[in-house]
C-alpha cells in the first residue's frame, strides 16, 4: 500500500480510537478520578483534532480522498452492508472543524459544569455524541449513517434532559426525540425505497444505479429527515426548547454539529437531487420559509439562548435554501463557518449567564462591555461574523450564498424572504449586543464577574480566531465544483451587505427608543405572533397530543369492549333481532277466523278459475 494512503487512513482510524478510548475506560467498574473530564476527555478530543490535521493537510496538498471498507457486517443475496468510511472533502474538512469546536467547548465545560457532581458523566455523554457525529459524517453507506443519526438523536435527548429534575427540561428532551422521530420516518422511507429499488445502501452504488430512476419519493423522505433533524419549519419547535440543556450542550449539539446532520445528509445525497426539480424547489421554499419565520421569532425573544437558538434555525434555513439552489458545496461551506461563530456565541452566552448568577434574560443584563470586555468583544465578533460582515468567517459563505441566490433562476418569493431574513439577522444580533454589552448594568452588583479563568478565555480565543480567519482559510484551500457567477450588477453584489446595514440601522434606531419612551407602544398582532413563536407550539403541542392521548385512552379502556360486546357482539345481535321479532309477532294478530275465511275464498277462486 502506498505510504500516503496508509498514513491517511490509519490516522483517521487512529482518531476514532483516540476518541473511543476514554469511553471504553468508563465501562469498567473502577471509579474515575475527579479530573477525568479534563485529563482524559478533553485531551482525547484535542489529540484527535491534532491527528486529524494530518489527513487534512494531505488532502489539501494532494487532493487525496479515500474510502475504507473495513468489515463486512451482513451479506444477503441482494444487499450487503460493510463498515465503510468515506473520507472525501466533505468529511475531511468537517472533522477537524468539529473536533476543534468540540475541544473548545469541552474546555469551557470544565469551568461551566464544575459544580455539577456528575461532570464526568456529562463529558462521557458529550464524547459519545461526538463519536456518533463522526460516524454519521464519515459514513459511506446509509446504514452506518443511520447509526450515527440515531446516536446523535439519543445523546441529544440525554443531554437536553441533563437536569432531569426540571419538568421543562424533560418536556424539551421529549420534544427533541419526538420531532426527530418524525424526521426519521422520512429517512427510513428513503432507505427502504433505495433498498428495494436500487438494492444498495452504498453511496457510490446508489448514485450510479439511480441515474434513470424517478427519485422523487426517496428524496422527499430525505428532505423530511432533514426537516426533523435540522429544525426546518414544521418540525422546528424542538430547537428553541432544547435550550433547556446546559450551555455546552447547546453550543455543541444545537448549533455546530447535530443540527447540521440533516443538511449534511442532503449534501451527501446531492447528486441524487441535482436533476429533480421538485426536490430542489421544495428545499428552496422550505428553507426560505424557515429562515424568515425563525428570524421573525428571534426578534422579540428575551432569553439570550433562545435568540441564538432561533438564529441557528435561521441559518439552517439558509443552508437548506443553498441546497435548493443546487449548490451543496456552498451549504457545506456555511456549515463549517457557522460552527465557529455560533459555538462562540453560545460560549459567550454561557460565560455571561454564569457571571450573572444564572441570569438568562437580556433585559436584566447590560454594561458588560466594561465588566467582561473579552466576552463582549467575542460576542460582537461572533455577531458580526453571523451577519456576514465582509472578510470575517461568515462573509465567505453567506455572501456567496446570497450572490448565488441573486443570480439564479429562482422563486422570487424565496429570494425576498431570504433577503428579509438576512436583515432580521442583523436586527436581532444588534439587539443582543445592545442589551447585553451596552448601556448600564441592569442587575445587582453582587456577582463577582471576572474573566480570570483560562478555561473560559482560551476556548473563546480559539473560536474567535476561527470566526475571523476560518472562512478565509477554508475558501482559499478548497476547489469549488460549480463555477460561481462572478459578474453581476452592483446592486446584486452588494444586496446582502445593503440589507444587513439597513437592518443594523433600523435596530439601532429602535434600540435607542428603549431609553426614550414618548408614549405607550401598543401591543400589536405581529408582536404577539413573534413572541409566541408563531403560535406553533401553542397549537401543535396541545391539539395533537390531546387528540391522540384521548383517543388512545378511549380505545384502550372503553371502545374495544364496547365495540366487540355491544356494537358488534352479543348486544348488537340482541338489538338487531328484537325489532325483527317484535315486528313478526306483531304481524301475527291471531285472527284465525279471518285467516281461514281468506284461505277458503282463495281456494274457491282458484278452483273456479282453473275450471273455466
Amino acid at each position: 500500500m502506498h505510504p500516503t494512503t496508509l498514513m491517511y487512513t490509519s490516522s483517521l482510524l487512529l482518531m476514532f480510537a483516540v476518541l473511543l478510548y476514554p469511553l471504553l475506560v468508563t465501562f469498567t467498574s473502577l471509579p474515575l478520578n475527579n479530573d477525568w473530564a479534563s485529563s482524559h476527555a478533553k485531551t482525547a478530543v484535542k489529540s484527535a483534532f491534532l491527528i486529524s490535521l494530518a489527513p487534512l493537510s494531505l488532502f489539501l496538498s494532494t487532493g487525496m480522498e479515500a474510502m475504507t471498507s473495513s468489515w463486512t457486517w451482513m451479506v444477503t443475496t441482494t444487499l450487503d452492508i460493510t463498515l465503510s468510511f468515506k473520507f472525501d472533502h466533505y468529511s475531511i474538512i468537517f472533522i477537524p472543524i468539529a473536533l476543534y469546536v468540540t475541544w473548545s467547548i469541552l474546555e469551557f465545560a470544565t469551568w461551566y459544569m464544575h459544580s455539577d457532581p456528575l461532570m464526568n458523566r456529562f463529558f462521557k455523554y458529550l464524547l459519545t455524541f461526538l463519536v456518533a457525529m463522526l460516524i454519521l459524517v464519515s459514513a459511506n453507506n446509509l446504514f452506518q449513517l443511520f447509526i450515527g443519526w440515531e446516536g446523535v438523536g439519543i445523546m441529544s435527548f440525554l443531554l437536553i434532559g441533563w437536569w432531569h429534575g426540571r419538568a421543562d427540561a424533560n418536556t424539551a428532551a421529549l420534544q427533541a426525540v419526538l420531532y426527530n422521530r418524525v424526521g426519521d420516518i422520512g429517512l427510513i422511507l428513503g432507505m427502504a425505497w433505495l433498498a428495494t429499488n436500487v438494492n444498495s445502501w452504498d453511496i457510490q452504488q446508489m448514485f450510479i444505479l439511480s441515474k434513470n430512476l424517478d427519485m422523487t419519493l426517496p428524496l422527499l423522505g430525505l428532505i423530511l429527515a432533514a426537516t426533523g433533524k435540522s429544525a426546518q419549519f414544521g418540525l422546528h419547535p424542538w430547537l428553541p426548547a432544547a435550550m433547556e440543556g446546559p450551555t455546552p450542550v447547546s453550543a455543541l449539539l444545537h448549533s455546530s454539529t447535530m443540527v447540521v446532520a440533516g443538511i449534511f445528509l442532503l449534501i451527501r445525497m446531492s447528486p441524487l437531487m441535482e436533476n429533480n426539480q421538485t426536490a430542489l424547489t421544495l428545499c428552496l421554499c422550505l428553507g426560505a420559509l424557515t429562515t424568515m419565520f425563525t428570524a421573525t421569532c428571534a426578534l422579540t425573544q428575551n432569553d439570550i439562548k433562545k435568540i441564538v437558538a432561533f438564529s441557528t434555525s435561521s441559518q439552517l434555513g439558509l443552508m437548506m435554501v443553498t441546497i435548493g439552489l443546487n449548490q451543496p458545496q456552498l451549504a457545506f461551506l456555511h456549515i463549517c463557518t457557522h460552527a465557529f461563530f455560533k459555538a462562540m456565541l453560545f460560549l459567550c452566552s454561557g460565560s455571561v449567564i454564569h457571571s450573572l448568577n444564572d441570569e438568562q434574560d437580556i433585559r436584566k443584563m447590560g454594561g458588560l462591555h466594561h465588566l467582561a470586555p473579552f466576552t463582549s468583544s467575542c460576542l460582537t465578533v461572533g455577531s458580526l461574523a453571523l451577519t456576514g460582515t465582509p472578510f470575517l468567517a461568515g462573509f465567505f459563505s453567506k455572501d456567496a450564498i446570497i450572490e448565488a441566490l441573486n443570480t439564479s433562476h429562482v422563486n422570487a418569493w424565496a429570494l425576498t424572504l431570504t433577503l428579509i431574513a438576512t436583515s432580521f439577522t442583523a436586527i436581532y444580533s444588534l439587539r443582543v449586543i445592545f442589551f447585553v454589552t451596552m448601556g448600564t448594568p441592569r442587575f445587582l452588583p453582587l456577582s463577582p464577574i471576572n474573566e480570570n479563568n483560562p478555561a473560559v478565555i482560551n476556548p473563546l480565543k480559539r473560536l474567535a480566531w476561527g470566526s475571523i480567519f476560518g472562512g478565509l482559510l477554508v475558501m482559499l484551500n478548497i476547489n469549488l465544483f460549480k463555477t460561481p457567477v462572478l459578474t453581476m450588477p452592483a446592486e446584486l453584489k452588494l444586496a446582502a451587505l445593503a440589507v444587513s446595514i439597513l437592518g443594523l440601522l433600523t435596530a439601532l434606531e429602535l434600540a435607542t427608543l428603549t431609553s426614550k419612551q414618548f408614549k405607550v407602544t401598543p401591543l400589536r398582532t405581529p408582536h404577539h405572533f413573534s413572541t409566541s413563536l408563531g403560535f406553533v407550539p401553542a397549537i401543535i403541542h396541545r391539539q395533537i397530543p390531546q387528540l391522540s392521548l384521548l383517543l388512545g385512552q378511549k380505545i384502550a379502556s372503553q371502545m374495544v369492549d364496547q365495540t366487540w360486546l355491544e356494537k358488534t357482539g352479543p348486544k348488537a345481535i340482541a338489538n338487531a333481532t328484537t325489532p325483527l321479532a317484535s315486528a313478526t309477532s306483531n304481524m301475527q294478530q291471531g285472527l284465525i277466523k279471518t285467516y281461514l275465511t281468506l284461505f277458503l275464498m282463495t281456494l274457491v277462486l282458484v278452483t273456479l278459475i282453473s275450471a273455466t
Binding site: A412, W413, H541, L549, Q562
Partner: protein
C-alpha cells in the same frame, strides 16, 4: 338505557352478595370499588366521600354505557396550569396527597398537554398561524409563476454568426443576425 335498568335489577338481587374475586376483597364486599352510577343523594354522598371531594363539587361522568361508574368529572385543567408557587405535597407534579385524580391524569402531566390560558384566544391563534402558512404557500406559488432571474440572451457570434464556420457557402449572402440592441 336497558343497561341501567339491568344494573339496578342486579343490584337489588345481589344486595351485599358480590360474586367472583371481587367478593374476596374487603373493599369490594363493602361496595367501595365495584361502583355504579349514583342515582340518589345517599349514593352521591358516599361517592363524594370515597373520592375525597365535597358533595357540592362532586359531579359524576354522564352514563352513556361507557362504564365510568361513579368516577367524578373533574375540570379539564393540566398540572402546568396550577400555581407553581404553592407548597404542593409533590411540587414537581403540582399535586397534593390523596387529591382526586382526573380520569385523564396521565394526559395532563406537565410533560404533556397544557391547558394554561394563552395570550391570545385559540381561534385568533389558529387563524393567524394557518393564515400565515396559507399566505406563504400562495406567495410561493406566485413566486414560482414569476421567478427572479438575470436576463440572458443568445450568444452573438462574430463573422456573420459564424456563417462560413458553420458550413455556409461563401457565395451566398448571409442574413444579418443581431442578438443585441444598443
Amino acid at each position: 338505557m336497558a343497561g341501567v335498568g339491568f344494573q339496578r335489577w342486579v343490584r337489588t338481587l345481589s344486595k351485599g352478595k358480590i360474586s367472583g374475586i371481587s367478593g374476596l376483597l374487603p373493599a369490594c364486599r363493602s361496595g367501595e370499588i365495584l361502583t355504579y352510577f349514583p342515582i340518589n343523594i345517599g349514593e352521591i354522598a358516599a361517592a363524594a366521600k370515597k373520592y375525597n371531594i365535597r358533595v357540592e363539587d362532586y359531579k359524576p361522568i354522564a352514563d352513556n354505557g361507557e362504564g365510568y361508574g361513579d368516577y367524578p368529572q373533574l375540570p379539564d385543567r393540566s398540572q402546568q396550569d396550577r400555581d407553581p408557587a404553592y407548597q404542593w405535597d409533590h411540587p414537581d407534579l403540582r399535586r397534593n396527597w390523596n387529591e382526586p385524580m382526573h380520569w385523564d391524569f396521565d394526559m395532563f402531566i406537565r410533560n404533556r398537554v397544557d391547558t394554561s390560558p394563552t395570550v391570545v384566544p385559540w381561534s385568533t391563534m389558529c387563524k393567524q398561524l394557518f393564515g400565515f402558512v396559507g399566505f406563504m404557500l400562495f406567495m410561493f406559488y406566485l413566486g414560482d409563476k414569476f421567478p427572479a432571474y438575470q436576463p440572458v440572451g443568445p450568444k452573438q457570434f462574430p463573422y456573420n454568426n459564424l456563417h462560413l464556420e458553420r458550413g455556409g457557402s461563401p457565395d451566398v449572402e448571409p442574413e444579418e443576425v443581431k442578438n443585441y440592441e444598443i
